[in-house]
């Protein structure tokens, strides 16, 4: 039996970052990952380090996270290929442009400055954009990073700081005694007075086992990447649209490939642990990405993938203390927008677990919002 101050169930970006920051605060940590660290949603997402467009009350957390992204080399000895190359949301319709304007106005008090660019200025600033584009909302300090690297880099750093990190450790049961959580896993038993559930799409099952069911559904993002070409497209870009199929986004990595995704999501299975990419969705994405970035028309797609993400009914995560069980904390169900938040979630959860409070507000994400009859029936 291994004992620690905190046991973390789920070694995605949230769990790995929490483990790292808990060690920085001096707590002993055991991180239990069923598969490999960051191999599901954390490792298969688009890699957006984007703040604009988020649920406004989430911006303080996103701002904190953005600040940590910039310090990754100092903090964890790895930049996870973070590139603060800017992010633009592009509107093709008047109504979408109006929404960008409204968002920019509303985001400012939350500490996010966005620049709206249209007309000739748009052609000058972003000459690679489609001539049909009406307006771009530019967030100069956002960018992108490599999702395959981020969570494992946090886990390695956590380990260097003294955390115990176990991969291929499937949790079989969790029980709560008077003082401790007892975690039975496929590789042994662990005991800790504090427990964090950061099990992504699988978080709902664990929360339900603690009497806190939540409406969560797994889906798979539809990701693909082109062959490499000269690095010319700095900002991450996405189409701002209410039409689901149009909602594609893309980024060029420094090595040259253009990663894209968005539109319709595929089904995913918690039992097989796989989300199958639907190749028809790739076909649906192609005209949209070519519309956004016409130079892509020359290129070929060389790979596609998906992963299991957990989506809450209200499209915002579950984060904070349990409403029912003392010593239990949640950080899961990030609805496909958790990658940017990861480092900030780790820092904030560690702060919450270590001190009982947080510097940035996280109340909107509390699990109690589902604690109604309606929520319990899903």
């Amino acid at each position: 039996m291994t004992a620690a101050d905190v046991a973390i169930v789920g070694g995605g970006l949230m769990g790995a970052a929490t483990a790292f920051f808990l060690r920085r605060r001096g707590l002993s940590v055991v991180l239990l990952e069923r598969d490999l660290v960051g191999s599901h949603a954390s490792g298969t997402n688009f890699g957006n380090v984007r703040r604009q467009g988020r649920f406004l009350p989430q911006l303080p957390l996103a701002n904190l996270s953005r600040e940590i992204w910039g310090r990754l080399p100092d903090l964890i000895g790895d930049d996870a290929e973070f590139l603060p190359s800017g992010h633009i949301r592009v509107a093709f319709r008047e109504a979408d442009a109006a929404r960008l304007e409204a968002y920019a106005r509303e985001a400012r008090p939350h500490g996010l400055e966005l620049e709206l660019v249209s007309g000739n200025a748009l052609r000058m600033r972003f000459p690679f954009l489609s001539p049909e584009a009406r307006m771009a909302s530019y967030s100069p300090h956002d960018g992108h990073a490599n999702p395959r690297l981020a969570a494992p880099a946090f886990a390695r750093a956590a380990r260097r700081e003294g955390a115990i990190v176990h991969e291929n450790a499937e949790v079989l049961s969790i029980t709560k005694s008077a003082e401790d959580f007892l975690v039975e896993t496929s590789i042994g038993r662990f005991r800790a007075p504090l427990l964090q559930v950061s099990a992504g799409a699988w978080g709902g099952r664990l929360a339900a086992a603690f009497g806190e069911p939540v409406p969560i559904t797994p889906h798979g993002p539809q990701m693909a990447v082109t062959e490499p070409v000269r690095y010319r497209i700095e900002p991450v870009m996405g189409i701002a649209s209410e039409v689901v199929e149009e909602g594609v986004y893309l980024r060029q990595v420094k090595r040259g490939n253009i990663v894209f995704g968005g539109g319709v999501r595929s089904e995913a299975s918690l039992d097989t642990k796989r989300a199958r990419l639907d190749p028809l969705n790739t076909l649906r994405q192609l005209p949209q990405v070519a519309r956004l970035l016409p130079a892509m028309r020359a290129l070929s797609v060389i790979r596609s993938w998906s992963g299991v993400e957990g989506y809450m009914r209200d499209d915002i995560p579950v984060m904070g203390p349990s409403a029912k069980v003392a010593g239990l904390f949640y950080a899961f169900g990030f609805c496909g927008h958790g990658f940017q938040l990861g480092p900030g979630v780790g820092a904030t959860m560690a702060e919450l677990i270590a001190t009982g409070g947080t510097g940035v507000p996280i109340e909107p994400f509390h699990i109690s919002r589902f604690a109604t009859a309606e929520g319990n029936t899903r």
Partner: protein, 99 residues
């Protein structure tokens, strides 16, 4: 400089002219673009990652190492594309993105 590939027969086919890096090159009808380029020269493209020239490898559509750029910024897999009169390709400097 001599070409990489050497013709050892079937030379009675009619000539096809293509333009490679701005210079006219003579090929034969029925050539793949790869053969047209590599009987005249010794490269198809630059590696995107700075490790030098490439000239394909598998010659049968599997390795994907022979994608060349047309002057217009299009992509052709040289080993499986028949040469056609008037093709204009570049083996140095990818024309992407188009201005």
């Amino acid at each position: 400089m001599t070409g990489l590939l050497h013709r050892v027969g079937e030379t009675g086919r009619s000539a096809v002219r293509i333009v490679v890096d701005g210079a006219e090159v003579a090929a034969l009808e029925g050539d793949t673009l790869l053969v047209a380029l590599l009987t005249a020269g010794a490269r198809l493209r630059e590696s995107e990652f700075g490790d030098g020239p490439r000239a394909g490898f598998c010659l049968m559509g599997a390795c994907q190492d022979c994608w060349v750029w047309t002057e217009e910024g299009g992509r052709l897999r040289a080993c499986s594309t028949p040469v056609a009169s008037g093709m204009r390709v570049v083996t140095r400097g990818a024309p992407w993105p188009r201005p």
